[in-house]
């Protein structure tokens, strides 16, 4: 075993142990804010784990979604939920047998899974070679993009539909009488000057990075989803700094943005029936431009949907938040 391999093994060991320790700490820590910060760190560590496993696409997504957007949502939630009263803490202490049971169950499942995974057939049956064989037919060079946009395009299409549905579901929670109000979770009342500066300086770089991520997606790891999530995060930053007004659910433009991606995808897919003989098949010669167009609008739709969810809901009329 050479030095590089030993170093790699050591890295893996450190990573694995720290992910486990951090996860346990997040579950056990009583302070909500600390748990959220721990969650952010954990997201980044898990992204590194994916890198070590040779899955840079997953690593990117995990870093942006798991580390970034979800943390932002959790931060917002933990700030909005009133602090736990003494009564709740007492009730929690009463429920420790339930918690113990849940922990035991989870441990049993984890150990069982570990055993099963260790016994998986070696070498693992995989479609990687089949994907590689068929790759030229899709005219993209990144096998992950080929799977997402050609072989299993229907799943990608429906995942973007799920995103639209998630937004509808989220908006269905808007308080009565506040449908035409702007979302009110993100803007700070008095953003620090440094934050405002950051909000002005970062967006151009962020947008550039997102476009880059999107563009290389056809050949290298990256793609519309990661790029869209990055755009959403930048939008959230601008909103937090108070540099732009959040949208209202009743406005047409954000909805149009969200729906555009899946609609264009459907249109190209249906056109495939006549032009290429199959639903979601691309006419030969036009594969790459069509995939690029779809990915571009999908990126905007992903960014809009995630950004609108991050922006939150308008406050209920007459609530404490609204008077503030």
């Amino acid at each position: 075993m050479n030095a590089v391999a030993i170093l790699g093994l050591l890295t893996d060991l450190v990573l694995a142990v720290s992910v486990l320790m951090l996860s346990i700490w997040i579950v056990l820590t009583p302070d909500r804010l600390r748990a959220v910060v721990g969650f952010l760190a954990n997201g980044i560590l898990i992204a590194l784990v994916w890198m070590r496993l040779g899955a840079p696409d997953v690593a990117l997504t995990e870093a942006i979604i798991g580390g970034g957007l979800v943390t932002l949502l959790l931060l917002g939630a933990s700030a909005r939920v009133p602090p736990e009263s003494a009564r709740n803490a007492f009730a929690d202490r009463d429920r420790w047998p339930l918690h113990l049971l849940a922990a035991l169950l989870a441990a049993v499942v984890a150990v069982g899974l570990a055993l099963v995974v260790l016994n998986l057939p070696e070498p693992a049956p995989s479609l990687a070679s089949a994907v590689a064989t068929e790759l030229p037919a899709t005219a993209v060079d990144n096998p992950v993009t080929a799977v997402l946009m050609a072989f299993r395009a229907v799943d990608t299409l429906f995942e973007t539909v799920v995103l639209v549905v998630a937004l509808i579901a989220f908006w269905s929670l808007i308080p009565e009488g506040a449908w035409f109000q702007r979302a009110g979770w993100l803007p700070l009342r008095e953003p620090a000057p440094a934050l405002v500066l950051l909000g002005r300086v970062l967006p151009p770089f962020g947008i550039l990075t997102a476009v880059h991520l999107f563009w290389i997606g056809t050949t290298l790891p990256g793609g519309k989803f990661q790029a869209g999530a990055l755009l959403a995060a930048i939008w959230a930053l601008v909103l937090i700094a108070g540099l732009s007004q959040p949208m209202a659910a009743a406005q047409r433009l954000p909805r149009l943005l969200v729906v555009m991606g899946p609609t264009v995808f459907f249109a190209v897919g249906l056109a495939g029936f006549w032009l290429a003989g199959d639903f979601l098949a691309y006419p030969s010669g036009l594969e790459k431009p069509l995939i690029l167009i779809i990915e571009a609008v999908l990126m905007l739709s992903v960014a809009a949907a995630l950004g609108l969810i991050l922006a939150g809901l308008p406050p209920a009329p007459g609530s404490l938040e609204q008077r503030r």
Binding site: L120, E134, L173, E176, A250
Partner: protein, 630 residues
Amino acid sequence: MTPLLIENGDLLAGLGVWSDELLVSLLVLPVLAMLLGFVLGGRAAERITLLTLPLGLALAIAVAVLMLHQGTPLSYDIGGWEPPLGVALRVDGLSALLLLTTALVITGVGLYACADFATSADVKEARAPLAFWTLLLGLWAALNAVFIGQDLFNLYVAIELLTFTAVPLVCLKGSAETLQAALRYLLFALLGSVLYLLGAALLYGAYGTLDIGQLAAAMGSSAEPAAIAAVVLMTAGLLAKTALVPLHLWLPPAHAGAPAAASAVLSALVVKGSFYLVFRLWIDLMPLAYTQQIAQGLATLGAVAILLGGIMAIRQARLKMLIAYSTLAQLGYLFLIFPLLVSPVMVPALADGSTPAAWTGGILQLVSHAFAKASMFMGAGLIMIALGHDRIADLGGLGRLLPITLVAFALSGLSLMGLPPSGGFAAKWLLLRAAIETGQWWWMLVILLGGVLTGVYLYRVLVSASFGGAGAVVEAGPTSDRQSASVPELAPEALPELASAPSPEPASAPSPRSSSERPGQTGQAQSVQGQPRLQRPVARSRELIVLTLALIAIALGMVPLTSFEILQIGRGGEAMAMLEPLAEPVGLSAVELPPSGLTPVPSVAGSLVAEMEPLPGVAGSLPSAAEPLP
């Protein structure tokens, strides 16, 4: 495309050319309508949905007719990529029936919901209508995707879509209780999704494909340990979504708290979607020997659900809670299919492609419950509007206010109880027969006991609605009044089974209690003439929708059972062929067979057939009478 093209002049053959487009449209039509409705918003969403209803229904009918005509399942590889690389869609007899059921129920619900979810004239757009109409379309697409999916990851996307459309429907009212119910539902459903996804990933890791047919072929007659773990995890997740005991805690508050139209869809269809996947995992994917081992366990949970749901339903004070617990119980019956279907006695029948009673009975239970429960929940919604409450004890006088709804309720009740002539009767009777044929008498007891419990809780409602309440304040007056009214007679007529029960007791019991419990306003509202006042009028057309769905549930019992042979399309061949080597049980089964019950068609069943003649065609559909399908 198919040899059928050659049959010139035939409309169906013409349809055959479009088979691929039809399959894809099942997914595309509702989704595109949803996206368009979301962008245009408000009233447009409602109009687009109402326009989509007949189109979607026509599509489901066209697919079913085409499949029936061809006699073989329709399938399509999306994008021209064959599995394992690509994703396939497939419609067999069972999925065609489920697609049709979904389309019919959603059409009924959509027409019914116009009155509840209209955008009022003074605003441009309102939250609840926009959410309801778009989510209804999304839910339809999700259900279609679940029923025609053939790829485990594609099915994961479908059940995710189903979850995200179903959960917000629970809390459309926006009250704290419904939000809590929705959140609980979400947690259970998300746990289910995670477990399902984990299982799907494990299966891919073990076999390198996600296509159900290819996985089954790769397994042959023995599965890898990883596959067993995967399917068990997926089953646990799907059971959480189906609300099988002990993972049922979320269902009653969620289904009872949702608006009536939403409750109807949730109870009639959404829980069936995840059940269908459990069914596919154990019948289509796993080798038979493993299913035989788990079947008794699944059915035991189902039996507990039947009994627990029944007992809890009897104890409820509110109509919608009662109906929700009834769903819990009726879902339990579906899990009885497993031991009855894979019992070693039935295996030879399965292998030669005939239709076993448990199979037809189980599917009939699923479908007739869908119609009956949709009708019941929507009826409860009308009662809620008309009376302003749904307290069972105070339903008196309903027969005068909403006679059609009460009749529909009684008819749906017939089907749920399993009394002839209804879909529920045929279903439960077939399950009973299967229990006898396979010598598993204990499931027979459960089915019968469940029927009695169902009878008791529905009887409570019908008695209260027909006789209760009215006598509470003015005891003498309304009694004669009541005799002259035509509707109250319906209840005893509809419940011949319970005619021997001491009827005066339950009839008078609610009255004193309700009068003592009912302080202030409610008492006043009812006091003037000793009968409840109509709080708000209910459109006759809405009552008729409720009645129509109930009538479909009844009519299912009158369909000759031989026509359910279509359920066998796409199952006689490849799916069941691999069962053949297992026809001789090798001691793997957990089923203990009494020596007398070993013959496929025991005499007990024969005599039952002779006695229960009202069901035409039943006798002809015994497993031995296989109808060769093309």
